[in-house]
């Protein structure tokens, strides 16, 4: 006799959205989270009156979130208060030039005209084509199951306009950027987003080139911190009996006769269920929770072939003064070549990069309640990506050195007097991410993402190796990020409903 219909391992956005939709459809569902916080990378912790976001810093492309609430039969506005952030980014180039991109496309055209008049036509062509593509492809690609060739063909048959955009999927991110823009500063301002998907511009898919454009549909910050998104979904699903247990670590998934039939917890307790959903990294799910001896050889070869996503240390700072910033996000950026250099000559060689490439997030601009009155919060990543084992060293040993080096960068490029105003400061290294999120090597986007590891070629939402096992989150479908992980929950729950509804 099963204790539950659905056991969901991990309370990241994928696990929570899948669990909530299972509960809504009448499945007795429990989500088991090993840490004391829900949300995975999309979470917020509190210390001395400041609230710091662990990883994710905004939500763009809100359609998957709206779809989750629509499927729950609830109004998103009743659970999550989204504050629009405009401008989208403020940029600081290595030579000290500053400019901002507003949400409005026409206003952005004027900004580009001032910096690089030669790129105005390229920007107009890119934004006209790209906005049309984003609107048409949203449901077709992001919210459609794409686990098999028949499903992909069905998606194309339903949305034939997708064919027109297929060449973009086959190009690289830098190929798309260089096709439309000539000026290196403009190129840099739309190329670094490749790292938002976990790949340098020379390896990232051309479709990543549209991340920057999609942000012109609006970027939003949830009041109360990023944790308000997973908490809002849990609250919305509470009417359906969704149970969430934090501090509950799963030791392994119980497999009997090639079927997932439950989980064994760290304390030895066994919990049985009709099916199991894992929101953990797919490599952890298959290699640690299922274990190689329970996998067919082809599955072992497949899962071993994936590289984990890049790690990215984060620094969280409380300030007793308002920072001299212009936007929710400030980006210190360089050329496309510099971005590729960070990947090839630093990250891949185990060296912490020393070139300027930082993202500074200022959440108290959107929500002052995150800090004591008159105080502010900055969450920033500096010189990312950083290697998991820098030159064979250990992040626990170099944490203090890294914090000071990152502050030096922040002082040099963004806030010259920041050290005078710091009241509190924390660092989350790749090792911390690995411990907190059970993410191998602290990878923040699950698995490395390019065209050979997305959609059809990413671990499927419905496992073919183990019956009654489902995967959700950044290791599946379209990879990491708030919209994509929420979309993975919609897709995984649709398979579950089909199989067990």
């Amino acid at each position: 006799m099963a204790d539950y219909d659905a056991i969901v391992i991990g309370a990241g956005l994928g696990g929570i959205s899948t669990g909530a939709l299972c509960a809504k459809n009448g499945f007795k569902t429990v989500i088991l989270e090993q840490s004391d916080l829900i949300g995975g990378c999309c979470s917020t912790y509190e210390r001395e009156g400041y609230r710091f976001d662990i990883g994710a810093s905004i939500v763009e492309i809100t359609q998957p979130m709206e779809r989750v609430f629509e499927l729950l039969g609830k109004r998103r506005e009743d659970y999550i208060d989204l504050v629009p952030c405009d401008p989208i980014y403020s940029f600081i180039t290595e030579d000290g030039r500053k400019f901002s991109y507003p949400t409005d496309i026409d206003e952005t055209t004027r900004v580009i005209e001032q910096i690089a008049p030669e790129d105005v036509e390229g920007w107009k062509a890119f934004s006209n084509m790209g906005m049309e593509m984003i609107e048409k492809m949203m449901d077709a690609v992001m919210l459609s199951p794409l686990n098999s060739i028949p499903e992909a063909l069905a998606m194309v048959a339903k949305n034939p306009q997708v064919i027109k955009y297929a060449p973009l999927f086959l190009r690289t991110h830098q190929g798309v950027v260089r096709k439309y823009y000539k000026n290196p500063v403009i190129q840099g301002s739309v190329a670094f987003q490749s790292y938002f998907a976990g790949a340098p511009p020379e390896l990232g898919s051309g479709i990543f080139g549209f991340i920057a454009l999609s942000e012109h549909m609006g970027i939003f910050y949830p009041k109360g911190g990023m944790i308000s998104i997973p908490q809002g979904i849990i609250n919305a699903a509470s009417d359906f009996g969704l149970e969430v247990r934090t501090g509950t670590k799963v030791e392994n998934i119980i497999v009997e006769g090639g079927k997932a039939v439950g989980v064994r917890l760290e304390d030895g307790t066994e919990m049985r269920s009709r099916f199991v959903v894992s929101n953990l990294n797919a490599k952890v799910t298959y290699l640690k929770l299922i274990r190689p001896e329970n996998l067919p050889k082809w599955a072992l070869k497949a899962i071993s072939s994936y590289e984990v996503s890049m790690p990215c240390p984060m620094i969280y700072v409380g300030l007793d003064a308002k920072p001299d910033l212009d936007a929710h996000h400030t980006v210190v950026t360089g050329s496309i070549d510099a971005m590729n250099d960070v990947w090839n000559n630093y990250y891949k060689k185990g060296v912490i990069p020393r070139t300027a490439m930082s993202l500074i997030c200022w959440p108290t601009e959107a929500d002052p309640s995150l800090a004591p009155e008159g105080h502010h919060v900055l969450n920033f990543l500096c010189n990312a990506p950083a290697p998991y084992a820098p030159l064979g060293d250990n992040w626990d040993r170099i944490k203090d050195w890294y914090r000071e080096a990152a502050l030096d960068e922040l002082e040099k490029y963004v806030l010259p007097d920041v050290r005078d105003h710091i009241t509190i400061m924390d660092v989350s290294t790749p090792l911390d991410f690995e411990r907190r999120l059970l993410s191998p090597q602290g990878g923040i986007y699950g698995l490395f993402s390019d065209m050979t590891t997305l959609a059809l070629f990413r671990p499927h939402s419905r496992s073919r190796a183990i019956k009654n096992l489902y995967l959700t989150g950044s290791s599946t479908h379209l990879g990491g990020g708030v919209p994509t992980t929420l979309a993975s929950g919609v897709i995984t729950s649709s398979y579950i409903l089909r199989d067990h509804g």
Partner: protein, 48 residues
């Protein structure tokens, strides 16, 4: 005769591909190498 033409075409194609590879930018070569490493796994990845 036909087999000789086929072999010559094959050699020409291979030579063209090698020439294109070496005349490509370093960045493009890294991309091709990256794809070369990933493609053999696609059938397995499709299944899982």
């Amino acid at each position: 005769m036909k087999s000789k033409i086929r072999a010559a075409l094959g050699v020409a194609l291979l030579a063209g591909a090698v020439a294109a590879y070496f005349s490509a930018s370093e960045s493009t070569r890294r991309y091709i190498k990256h794809l070369g490493k990933q493609v053999p796994y696609l059938p397995y990845r499709y299944l899982i």
